[in-house]
């Protein structure tokens, strides 16, 4: 593909409603969906709303549903699609529409505020924190998250059930909880919160979130399932139950 004219069907509208609008636009060699959207914006629809920042898959701003699949538009090459077929771009469905491809993702930021803070243990006598690389590998995997919110977008617990949002943190935030719970230095305990207020039990591990993660984070296998196990250990282990009752303590053991 050196240069060709493509048909883009882009959803336009606001919270009051909208529809797909068709654009005929040039696409050049090597371009991604976001490049073509930018060309439409520059030449045909200056007011077409789309979020983006880095255009290199680092910032997670340009999430949308391309031909029905949740993707980063900056990392989706145009040559992925059959020549001559229209390419459809719609906003993420799970979040309220602001305008065109831009959605209100504030739910995620509100949920982030409810995560109890990182609380490190004291430093070693020499003033350092010693951690082995192999002990942080799994947490570093979670730190790769670029907060594109595509995992939140596909999660069926909230995708079709707005009413679940106040008591369901969602895959992005479960990664956040997992990285804290598994952080070698952290001393906080968030398991009861996960169970009672963050809806960890709602997840029935269909792995939709892991499938769309542009960073290939094993959200279900490495974060959510281990979190579920930790919660089970804590709350359904009879010995720990007795200890908790007797001491009134609720600490990590």
């Amino acid at each position: 593909m050196a240069e060709e004219t493509v048909t883009m069907r882009i959803w336009r509208g606001d919270k009051g409603g909208g529809a797909f609008q068709e654009f005929q636009v040039e696409a050049h060699e090597g371009e991604v969906v976001l490049d073509v959207i930018h060309r439409i914006q520059a030449t045909q629809a200056n007011d077409l709303a789309v979020r983006w920042n880095c255009k290199a898959g680092r910032c997670g701003s340009c999430s949308a549903e391309v031909n029905g699949r949740p993707r980063l538009t900056c990392m989706t090459r145009m040559n992925l699609f059959a020549s001559g077929e229209p390419v459809t771009v719609a906003p993420m469905k799970t979040f309220p529409i602001i305008k065109d491809l831009v959605t209100d993702v504030s739910f995620n930021f509100e949920m982030a505020k409810r995560v109890p803070a990182f609380k490190p243990r004291p430093r070693e006598p020499d003033g350092t924190y010693r951690m082995r690389q192999e002990d942080i590998d799994r947490v570093q995997e979670f730190h790769k998250c670029i907060e594109c919110f595509l995992c939140q977008n596909v999660c069926h617990v909230i995708r079709d059930h707005d009413e679940n949002k106040p008591h369901f943190a969602g895959p992005r935030l479960f990664i956040r909880y997992a990285e804290l719970e598994m952080h070698p230095l952290d001393t906080n305990d968030r398991r009861e919160l996960l169970k009672t207020e963050m809806g960890l039990g709602y997840c029935n591990i269909t792995k939709c979130c892991s499938e769309v993660c542009p960073e290939s984070i094993h959200i279900t296998d490495n974060a959510i399932i281990p979190l579920k196990e930790r919660v089970v250990d804590e709350f359904y282990d009879p010995v720990k139950f007795v200890v908790r009752k007797l001491t009134g303590r609720n600490k990590k053991v």
Binding site: Q41, N46, A49, R58, E147
Partner: protein, 599 residues
């Protein structure tokens, strides 16, 4: 006041504009000092340009090389900056960077580890020892996320997707700022005792750039319009290694970590050409042969650094020359080869983002093939003139930190010194802005008439029935800056650029936007163009004034450094509509620090 001109008002002790590393660190500190703090940013929280930083944070932790210390880091920074740096900033930076890195770890950051469990450090250009604390090649993400998570619990009021268009003053003193919500297009007036600018850089005025849409020089322009001094605006860093192919990715950054981890630059005949470009200043500490250069990665005591890791200005100019003389790669860059030098597992582990970026965007497997790279506009050394200790600008109540501040990096910034700069001076700016606010009990008065006029002026593009598309004007501006105020400059071209900028200014005054105020990128660009033009003009004027070549400023007509220019900063200031350019002497470095420069 017409209905559409209405605005909401918020009052804080300190407002921080920009939420990258510097802004977040400043807000955390101001808030910790008890100041009522607002953090205002153009994007969503956590999306700022810091997220794209790859290689690492330079800090003399001495974990890998016990010989390292702040004095060596200071020396490297000053020499990298061609001795034009504000020495006191460079000193504070080198002294405080290790504490700031350790603090990030205490806040939850997980850097890659040494065998004995401490923070690992990597090699980078211009640094004598392996000095960069890092997380693979996504250090910026780790940093911004750590700061973001920390800030969430600090009671800071965050105003996301909110763009500031002008600072307000009460007499000489800062009084607040006027901005608009990108989402609704409605206006906001902030009343504040102190303002911290942390808006980053100006790269969006150039065509080939590693910078995101936000980098429109807002903070530089806001400071200039508020009467603050800018310094060193002629020094723009072209990072030597941006992607060049395919065209849609041109300019996207390829981390210096590729070379730090063993990658080398080659021209089309396959020659490691950097050995022909070692400047006198770095000859004594640079390897002469490929054998010595290769040995240096593991033996820093008996071998000298590879010329592939000379400071960025040197490498960018060398690549430019190779391409110009016909030894470039097929698409007009040079080759960056790590595939033949390190095994595939090592490359994927150390450079996972680079691997993914080339694989997905360019169909290149960097474990098997060389990358094509060329210079890309990356960073501005120049910025708001600040006091080294407090980050106070020349306007009372106005502070600046990070890329928007000038002085720290002199004529050229070393890789890795940016993230540490953000932390060290972000903290200082927040601390002193809060102190300033505390010592001024009265909140300054905002001139509501002025605020209303600014709102009205910002909405003017909607009222025009005829006028140009802002995207066309932006494209022409980028073309102008790329071709006339690029890596290599000359008087005739700079004068031509100034003429073109004058015409572009007239065109910006006549822009027309379509649609309505809600999330309208065309309108946002029309407003951002005003900042881009202001910084472009400042850069071109300062570049014309400096009739020598030094660091990130190369003049074809004055190819050598001139010792006289080595004693002065070029200062840009605006009074009324007039922009004045002056040369002012550098701060004198004390003798004990001068001694560190010898040898």
């Amino acid at each position: 006041m017409a209905d559409g001109d209405r605005y909401e008002t918020h009052e804080h002790d300190v407002i921080v504009i920009g939420a990258g590393g510097a802004g977040l660190r400043a807000a955390i500190e101001a808030s910790a000092q008890g100041a009522s703090t607002a953090l205002v940013c153009k994007s969503l929280l956590g999306k700022a340009h810091t997220v794209m930083a790859e290689g690492g944070i330079a800090a003399a932790l001495s974990n890998v090389y016990p010989e390292d210390n702040w004095q060596v880091h200071f020396r490297d920074t000053m020499r990298g900056g061609k001795m034009l740096n504000n020495w006191r900033m460079a000193q504070l930076h080198a002294q405080e960077a290790p504490d700031r890195v350790n603090e990030l770890e205490e806040w939850g950051a997980l850097f890659d580890r040494t065998a004995d469990g401490r923070i690992l450090q990597r090699d980078f250009g211009g640094h004598r020892y392996a000095r960069l604390a890092h997380v693979g090649d996504r250090t910026g993400l780790e940093m911004i996320r750590t700061l973001q998570h920390n800030a969430v619990h600090k009671g800071i009021d965050v105003y996301m997707e909110c763009t500031i268009v002008r600072l307000l003053k009460d007499g000489d003193r800062i009084a607040g700022a006027v901005g608009y919500w990108r989402e609704s297009g409605k206006f906001v007036v902030f009343r504040a005792k102190a303002v911290v600018l942390a808006t980053g850089g100006i790269g969006k005025a150039w065509k080939i750039t590693s910078n995101s849409w936000e980098y429109t020089g807002d903070g530089h322009a806001l400071a200039l319009w508020a009467g603050a001094d800018l310094i060193d605006m002629e020094f723009v860093q072209f990072h030597p290694t941006g992607m060049v192919w395919p065209p849609s990715v041109r300019g996207i950054l390829v981390t210096e970590g590729v070379r730090g981890d063993g990658g080398v630059l080659k021209n089309s005949p396959g020659e490691r050409f950097m050995f022909r470009y070692i400047p006198e200043m770095f000859r004594a500490e640079t390897a002469e042969t490929e054998e010595e250069a290769d040995r240096w990665y593991t033996d820093k005591k008996n071998a000298r650094r590879t010329p592939d890791l000379l400071p960025r200005d040197e490498v960018a100019r060398a690549i430019n020359t190779e391409v110009k003389e016909g030894r470039g790669s097929p698409h007009g860059g040079v080759l960056l080869d790590i595939a033949t030098r390190r095994d595939a597992d090592y490359i994927r582990r150390r450079l996972p983002s680079m691997y993914q970026q080339f694989m997905e965007l360019a169909d290149v497997d960097i474990t098997k093939e060389a990358m094509e790279v060329g210079p890309t506009c990356h960073y501005v050394m120049g910025g708001v003139r600040v006091d080294a200790e407090t980050q106070a600008s020349t306007v009372p109540g106005l502070f600046a930190a990070g890329e928007v501040a000038g002085g720290m990096h002199g004529a050229n910034r070393l890789g890795g010194n940016s993230l540490s700069d953000l932390l060290v001076f972000g903290r200082r700016a927040g601390l002193h802005a809060a102190e300033y606010a505390r010592s001024h009990t009265s909140t300054p008065t905002v001139d509501t008439g002025e605020a209303e006029a600014l709102v009205h002026e910002s909405l003017a593009p909607f009222d025009r029935t005829e006028g140009e598309n802002p995207y066309s004007v932006h494209e022409d501006l980028q073309e102008c800056m790329q071709s006339l105020v690029g890596i290599i400059r000359a008087e005739a071209e700079l004068r031509k650029a100034l003429d073109e900028l004058a015409l572009l200014k007239q065109r910006v005054a006549r822009l027309k936007v379509i649609g309505h105020r809600q999330y309208n990128p065309g309108w946002h660009l029309a407003l951002d163009l005003r900042s881009m033009l202001a910084v472009s003009e400042a850069t071109a004027l300062a570049a014309l004034e400096r009739r020598e070549s030094r660091g990130g400023h190369t003049r074809d007509d004055y190819p050598d450094p001139d010792p006289e220019f080595g004693k002065a900063n070029v200062v840009v200031r605006q009074r009324g509509d007039e922009i004045a350019i002056t040369q002012e002497p550098l701060l004198a470095m004390p003798d004990d620090l001068k001694k560190l420069m010898e040898g």
